[in-house]
């Protein structure tokens, strides 16, 4: 089996995997980073979104081998020194979740969208989250959380 190495949440990671191993399997089953979820497993729901070299991707639709040599960030890599990332904090403050299953992917997508659109309006947030499905909240508080965090992520 080939060895695949990458940097995950700032740490070097390496594992022997079958070439058909998905990035999400690599993260969850080889590195035990189970914060990244598998929802639909068909690229629709976005529960598995992580960042690869700063870009949000669906880790259920990427081979681990494709990420070789990349820098990967998962939900576990956001909090620094015990402080939640502003986006995590905003989801908490604005009650942007109910069951929480979609939340890791939602937050990873939301951070990418705010990075690309520093001061998004509500319409932009809704459009940019079209790859993430939440079946609890009706999105209202998720959008509120993203708008709240966007004001705090600058600098």
């Amino acid at each position: 089996m080939p060895t695949v190495s990458m940097k995950v949440n700032g740490q070097d990671a390496s594992a022997d995997v079958e070439p058909r191993t998905l990035l999400v399997q690599y993260l969850r089953e080889h590195l035990n980073l189970t914060g990244t979820h598998v929802g639909c497993d068909t690229s629709q729901c976005g529960a598995c979104v992580v960042h690869v070299d700063g870009r949000s991707v669906k880790s259920c639709t990427m081979l681990a081998m494709q990420a070789a040599g990349s820098e990967v960030t998962t939900i576990e890599g956001l909090a620094q020194n015990g402080e939640l990332h502003p986006m995590q904090e905003a989801f908490k403050e604005n009650h942007g979740l109910q069951c929480g299953f979609c939340t890791p992917g939602m937050i990873m997508s939301a951070i990418d969208l705010v990075n690309r659109h520093p001061n998004p309006d509500e319409q932009t947030v809704r459009e940019e989250l079209e790859g993430n499905i939440c079946r609890c909240t009706g999105y209202h508080n998720i959008v509120k959380a993203v708008l709240d965090a966007s004001g705090k992520m600058g600098g």
Binding site: P19, G46, S56, L63, M65, E130
Partner: protein, 263 residues
């Protein structure tokens, strides 16, 4: 997924040398990986060309925009060159899938796959682009040959797509609300060689509408094609819409595309 070997060539010539037997090419993998997961394909090897530098990138000049085969949709959507020269093409790229799919999916992968509901084939045909491969150049009108079928030979690799800059162009699609694939998408362009109208999503493969092209050639206004209807014969019908519904949408999307183009 069935088992396969994975190869990651660093040059086009190396990739071409690996492409034999049941091996398949992968760029972003946004179509191939779901296909593999459903066991609808059983390649012996996946040749990942996503890391080949010479296949990626955008350049503009001399009346055309050239987009490398492994250029991702997000890069096309964000490109100042594309937005400046052919804004309709940037808008099309921005409407593919969702942000995460656009961060991985590529133009070469999209056109080589030729999904009947893919967006890019409409732009390639609508603008009269030229598809460059490692062996030859193929005119858009000869490239897409049928449902999931193209003129590409088994051992041929798309290297770039060169789009001539039109005088005006517009793209409008009616997206499937779940998948964002085009139920119907129409790309309209006024070019030096006349008006081109290309339709995706409605039929087995992208097609042009000659009657609309000649009407718009005389008068590039949405009202010029008001009375032109497209036959439902041979159009796609599925749970999302009947052939008659799609035929109707072709007219609606074509008029909106002309309006979008400024006509």
């Amino acid at each position: 997924m069935y088992e396969f070997d994975y190869q990651r060539p660093s040059s086009l010539s190396e990739a071409a040398s690996m492409l034999s037997g049941e091996a398949t090419l992968m760029a972003g993998g946004q179509t191939l990986i779901p296909t593999l997961k459903q066991r609808l394909a059983m390649p012996s090897a996946v040749i990942d060309i996503g890391g080949i530098a010479e296949l990626s990138g955008i350049s503009a000049g001399g009346g055309s925009v050239s987009i490398g085969a492994t250029t991702r949709h997000a890069a096309v959507a964000d490109s100042a060159d594309v937005k400046g020269a052919i804004p309709a093409l940037a808008k099309l790229a921005e409407g593919i899938g969702d942000p995460q799919v656009r961060n991985m999916g590529t133009i070469g992968g999209s056109i080589a796959n030729n999904d009947p509901a893919a967006d890019y084939p409409a732009a390639v045909v609508g603008l009269g682009a030229t598809v460059h491969t490692n062996k030859r150049e193929i005119a858009a009108d000869n490239f897409f040959t049928g449902m999931f079928e193209t003129a590409l030979a088994e051992d041929e690799i798309v290297t770039k797509v060169v789009f001539p800059v039109p005088e005006k162009a517009g793209y409008m699609k009616f997206p499937n609300p779940a998948s964002r694939y085009a139920m119907v998408g129409v790309f309209v362009a006024q070019t030096g060689g006349g008006v081109r109208v290309a339709v995706t999503g409605a039929g087995p493969s992208v097609f042009r509408v000659a009657e609309m092209e000649s009407a718009l050639g005389g008068n590039f206004w949405a009202s010029a094609i008001e009375g032109i209807s497209v036959s439902a014969d041979g159009l796609n019908a599925d749970i999302h819409g009947s052939a008659a519904y799609r035929a109707h949408l072709v007219g609606v999307m074509a008029r909106r595309a002309v309006a979008e183009a400024g006509g």
